[in-house]
């Protein structure tokens, strides 16, 4: 880490300092230094650019660009900031996409919503936002959303027309000769999720694939800006409903860091329990979906059956099966009724009863092996250069897991290891999913034991310890928080100013970097 600090210190920096245990935070004085710093960091081993996130400061008339670099092997991270002017025609910065391919979509997103131009970017097109916002840069402060929304029909027609134009252009470009055609896979294909792949095919051969996302774009960052930090939870937990507990956990950590509050050990352990349940219900859907996409519904049904038992636990705890709002800044929302642990044990038992069948019928399934073992192979180098995370990274043999790299909640008390596979194929990803299920069960058992022991010895008070008070008014500050959620790494960069609601927030998950590449 010291070496990293020295390395960054050789450039013209306003400050360079340690941040948390695994981060170096630095601010460059000149935007022109960025490429040099990035190259130096890459040579040093920080080969992944996790995300690019601009913050808007209209009073100071500047954008602050935040770059997060990571070395997946030695777990060193660098957070580089640099200011650029705010005027539309002047806010430019060098693109890092040629150096770090993983920056591509993040830079395009920053361009679409803030209007930051990345010089040298190979295809700087609008992206993610719906077509009626093209060229309007909605996340800039002062953008009048209400005025924009007043003419809904007109806006919708813009969107319809853009789809129509796209179709006409494709027809012109591809023509009608031979068997060439443009196939839209998604956005509502049962296997696709909200992504559309524009697949150009010639008969059965795929010529090119171009992804298009934004079909569930809700401008959550904007929604969070409007609310105080409790109200923001509603938006935060809906980043993805599959695993909603971990996204709340991530946000809660960021708020606690800014408020400078520590949560109780009991709340930390409860966060582990809730986080793992979130992971399990999501993984079960993932496992089911894998075979569902292959045309076999059985595992999906079985997985849904087991999932219900875990949802029961969430329902007992919070009253809701999915939208639990159970983790909030300061701890967890509800006190613990000790009977809940029995329900949880029942759910674990249910999984373990079904596990052998999952294993023998599905994991050792010869058809699955034939179809998936050589499909969608991602090498460890690709994981690094595209900054992949979560299961996809681990299936390629890269040991990365935020629960171990930068332990949060009470994960430091838990005995666990990296769950990896070797080849990075679709089958390996399924294997890792399965291994992680087992791992989550073991974590849950350890957590239950710890909770029972703590409650019995009087160390934890389940009725009172669940929450410490966080002042409604947050001081001005800035924090980043990372958690390992079921679909990879979730990072939230929270900036608050001296007003009650968080003034600016950019929540970045990595939807582009994960994806369980099915067979």
């Amino acid at each position: 880490m010291e070496k990293l600090k020295e390395l960054i210190g050789t450039f013209d920096v306003a400050y360079v300092e340690n941040y948390k245990k695994v981060w170096i935070k630095a601010k460059l004085n000149k935007a022109s230094d960025l490429l040099g710093v990035a190259q130096a960091l890459k040579d040093e081993g920080l080969k992944s650019l996790v995300t690019v996130s601009p913050t808007d400061f209209p009073e100071e008339n500047k954008f602050e660009m935040n770059y997060f670099f990571e070395d997946l092997l030695t777990r060193r991270n660098a957070w580089i900031k640099v200011d650029i002017p705010r005027e539309l025609d002047r806010c430019e910065i060098d693109s890092l996409t040629p150096m770090f391919p993983g920056a591509n979509w993040h830079e395009r997103e920053a361009y679409s919503v803030f209007g930051v131009k990345f010089t040298g970017h190979p295809e700087l097109e609008y992206f993610l936002i719906s077509q009626d916002y093209y060229g309007k840069f909605p996340f800039r402060k002062g953008f009048d959303w209400k005025a924009h929304e007043a003419n809904l029909i007109e806006n919708m027609n813009t969107i319809f027309e853009s789809f129509e134009n796209e179709h006409v252009e494709n027809e012109k470009r591809i023509g009608h000769a031979g068997s060439r055609t443009m196939l839209n896979w998604g956005p509502t294909h049962p296997a696709s999720g909200p992504i559309r792949l524009k697949v150009e095919v010639d008969g059965e051969d795929i010529i090119s694939v171009k992804p298009d996302i934004g079909y569930v774009w809700r401008a959550l960052e904007h929604l969070v800006e409007e609310k105080d930090f409790i109200g923001a939870l509603v938006a935060l937990e809906r980043i993805c409903f599959m695993d909603n507990t971990n996204s709340m956990l991530c946000y809660a950590q960021a708020v606690e860091e800014i408020a400078g509050k520590e949560i109780t050990p009991f709340a930390a352990m409860m966060r582990v329990v809730l986080g793992e349940i979130g992971r399990i219900v999501s993984h079960l859907m993932g496992m089911g979906g894998f075979f569902n996409n292959m045309g076999l519904m059985t595992l999906f049904m079985w997985a849904l059956d087991v999932r219900e038992y875990f949802l029961d636990v969430l329902e007992d705890y919070s009253g809701a099966r999915i939208a639990t709002a159970s983790i909030e800044p300061g701890g967890v929302r509800y006190p613990l009724d000790v009977n809940l642990l029995d329900t949880l044990e029942k759910a674990i038992q249910k999984y373990e009863d079904t596990r052998t069948e999952f294993y023998t019928i599905f994991l050792k399934n010869p058809t699955m092996k034939m179809r998936a073992a050589k499909t969608g192979i991602i090498t460890a180098e690709e994981v690094e250069s595209f900054a992949l995370c979560g299961i996809v990274a681990r299936a390629s043999g890269v040991k990365t897991d935020i629960r171990l790299d930068e332990p949060y909640a009470a994960y430091d008390k838990i005995d666990m290891d990296y769950m990896t596979a070797e080849n990075g194929s679709a089958m390996n990803r399924f294997e890792v999913l399965f291994k992680e299920m087992d791992q989550s069960m073991s974590i849950l058992k350890q957590a239950i034991a710890d909770l029972r022991r703590g409650i019995e010895s009087g160390e934890y008070d389940p009725q009172k310890d669940h929450m410490v008070k966080i002042p409604k008014k947050l001081p001005a500050g800035e924090a980043i928080s990372r958690v390992e959620w079921s679909r990879g790494e979730l990072m939230i960069h929270l900036v608050t100013q001296d007003t009650i609601p968080p003034e600016d927030q950019s929540a970045k998950r990595q939807p582009y970097h994960d994806g369980r590449a099915p067979a």
Binding site: S130, N155, I159, P187, M301, L304, I322
Partner: protein, 157 residues
Amino acid sequence: MLKILDFFDYAKSESPWMVHFCSGCCSLEMAAAMGPRYDWERYGYIPTPTPRQADVLIITGLVSKKILPALLRTFAQMPEPSYVLAIGACAYDGGPYNDSVAVIKNATEILPADAFVAGCPPKPEAIITGLEMIKEKIRKGEPSAASQGGLWKQMKF
């Protein structure tokens, strides 16, 4: 003659197929309703991948602006009579995204629904109840709400 037609309505009502279209997060609870514990096949529902065979379209909560054209096209491809079930608060007024201005907040005004199930997300039992309401409508031979009006008829898609 009338009786035979009644019988057809009855037969239709007992096996409504729904097009597998997930636009928002409520589709998770729709999946749960498909699953073993709630098992909507007991009531004759089955998801079908193509709109051409479907009787019911479910608006699963959130409708973002970008997905609306696809939603309307899917609905337009369904043979008459085609019914719409809206689930989740988002389908009614934007729900938790009511303050956000990047989503469609009047989805049911654009594409009127025959039944609406409240909740965020609604529980699987509630979704099945909503489908039962549609069954009732089919049995009576009532025309679907979307065929009677709605902003979707003025929109290009």
